[in-house]
Symmetry: C2
Subunit: 230 residues, 2 copies
């Protein structure tokens, strides 16, 4: 497994870099998922269960972004998927340049789906387009149902919310309806999937939804290609 030191994008052209990256991923039909959430929300364990259900159907790659360590990437390698560890050199988020560096090392041309597990952080990753086809965020029950009030941008920009560790809802007095109501004020259409990586509940529903998004996206790309042939 490779460990790559990626450097932050200092110039103010992140959106342009992200657009380039998106076009390149569309060309190779590689669906990039930007997975975000707090430290310890369960990004790695939800991703593990997700990949278990999808890896027979799709070829999958993973980029694990961390300030330091490679514990998550080693967990992914055990699943038998192509994995790269990205070290962000102190940066609290991934940007498009860093993601491009990671993809260049991962060689995603033959991959259907690449998951980028972003740095554990509810603030800055929300501000940076990394060229993804889909932004998915994970909130965990122990963090509390008031988090949409405190970190509104993350909930606004994400395409899907997974509420993890729902097996502990009673211990933590977490009200899913209250959480969903807080989320809906920021993002009226966002699907919310209650899951628990520890016993797999909710993972099939979320995974099916994700597979539908991948298929819809592929069809859209085919149509766009035909359009550009005319």
């Amino acid at each position: 497994m490779e460990i790559l030191d990626v450097k932050a994008n200092l110039i103010q052209d992140n959106d342009q870099e992200a657009a380039c990256l998106r076009r390149s991923l569309e060309k190779s039909r590689t669906f990039l998922v930007n997975l975000m959430g707090s430290p310890g929300a369960g990004k790695t364990s939800v991703l593990t269960e997700t990949i278990r259900l999808l890896k027979e159907r799709y070829s999958i790659g993973v980029m694990e972004a961390d300030v330091d360590s490679d514990v998550d990437a080693r967990a992914m390698e055990r699943l038998g998927v192509r994995t790269i560890q990205l070290h962000t050199g102190g940066s609290c988020h991934m940007d498009a340049r860093m993601t491009g560096d990671g993809l260049a090392a991962l060689n995603p041309e033959d991959l259907d789906i690449v998951f980028l597990e972003n740095v554990g952080n509810l603030v800055c990753p929300a501000e940076f387009d990394v060229g993804q086809a889909l932004r998915v965020m994970i909130l965990s029950v122990p963090e509390g149902d008031d988090k949409p009030l405190k970190y509104p941008l993350m909930f606004s920009v994400s395409d899907c919310l997974l509420v993890n560790k729902t097996d502990t809802s009673e211990i933590f007095d977490f009200d899913l309806d209250r959480c969903t109501a807080n989320v809906r004020r920021l993002n009226a259409e966002m699907p919310v999937f209650p899951v628990a990586a520890v016993d797999g509940r909710g993972i099939p529903e979320w995974t099916e939804w994700l597979a539908d998004r991948v298929e819809d996206w592929k069809k859209k790309m085919e149509v766009a290609d035909h359009g550009s042939d005319d």
Copy 2:
């Protein structure tokens, strides 16, 4: 309760600003605690229990820093301590300038202790000296005992670690010894207090330790004042 919009320090003089702030706080004998941790680690609830035990003995102020919302500041106001809500305008951390703005609005001259509850984030707040006398970090059991490996700077710069939600250790397979061993590699001398805000366990021990730090600091300030009189 006042809500203040604070602006990030764009110039590269954070350390100088922090030193100024520290001198000013030393002059008024106000002990500033910079409290850091992930979203949902329990900073507000631990702080609530801490203040309950200290508020007869010390006059206390609180600055709640958030990207948005004022739910934490309202919780503090209910305790009857002087409180100000700081909105960071999207910034994922507090810096010295922002802290100075907050202190100017709080009028801390007659306060013994001011708690700054930093933005929920395990990365960037570790990089910014805010003029504090003490850096305290909270890690919660559901986040996992591997967090020192992934966010080493926060564990390196902190003066004390509170491990919160220890009532859930068995559910989450959190090993306090393993966590402490990971911490000790980064910060050999750091005291580690297992606590649970939900039932108050460990809070008296941590609070006594904090009160000792405040008293030691006051004595040191008196000696320094005498020295400068010579």
